[in-house]
Amino acid sequence: MNWLTGVILALFFGLLIYAESDLPDSRAVTAPARARVVDLYIERSYPDTRTPNIVTSVLADYRGYDTLGETVVILTAGLAVSLILPRNSRRG
């Protein structure tokens, strides 16, 4: 590891530590990471969908459109690999 890599890594680590002091305390009740929509998801998940698992109901029902796009991303990766590396159909 030459000195340029070491300098880059040290700068990166220093930047992360400096930025960490600016993060809001996400465990507090008034953090911006706890948007109001999350409380609505938790409160309305069981009456709306009769699904005890809130993560599944958010993934497949409230945010189902994002899951559809992400499934297409997985299919695209499989398609890309099958085009980059074709299987040889010879058995010899």
Binding site: S26, I54, V55
Partner: protein, 123 residues
């Protein structure tokens, strides 16, 4: 001045990020760069998930003793995002490995310097 009383979750995340970045930037073997990318992604997953906890709350599965009280469950949104991100990272690693196999068959090596030298010689 910066606070030095940081909680250790953020320190561990920063350490893993630096290790992943070292793998991607400081190593010259292409496969080690892919591994560094995976370590970087894992650090991001851990950081997201630990940022969604609440004191005294339980997993986001409906519990009839807590019913609809939103303060009794942890934040389910980071879990949803990271579920997606994990499978996307598997797919990305698959495509990266396919490209590495193609490069190895074309140039015969996975070291950066050797590949660049053979590319210059063949062009």
């Amino acid at each position: 001045m910066m606070r030095f009383a940081m909680n250790y979750y953020d320190l561990m995340t920063a350490a893993l990020l630096v290790i992943g970045l070292y793998g991607m930037v400081g190593k010259r073997n292409l496969l080690k760069k892919v591994i560094g990318m995976n370590i970087f992604q894992t650090a991001i997953f851990l950081f997201f998930i630990q940022g969604g906890t609440k004191p005294g709350a339980t997993v986001p599965v409906w519990d009839p003793r807590i019913a609809s009280e939103a303060a009794g469950y942890i934040n389910p949104l980071p879990h949803v995002l990271i579920l997606t991100a994990i499978v996307v990272s598997v797919a990305t690693t698959g495509v990266a490995l396919a490209l590495l196999i193609t490069i190895y068959r074309r140039y015969g090596s996975l070291e950066e310097a050797t590949i660049l030298e053979r590319m210059r010689k063949s062009s």
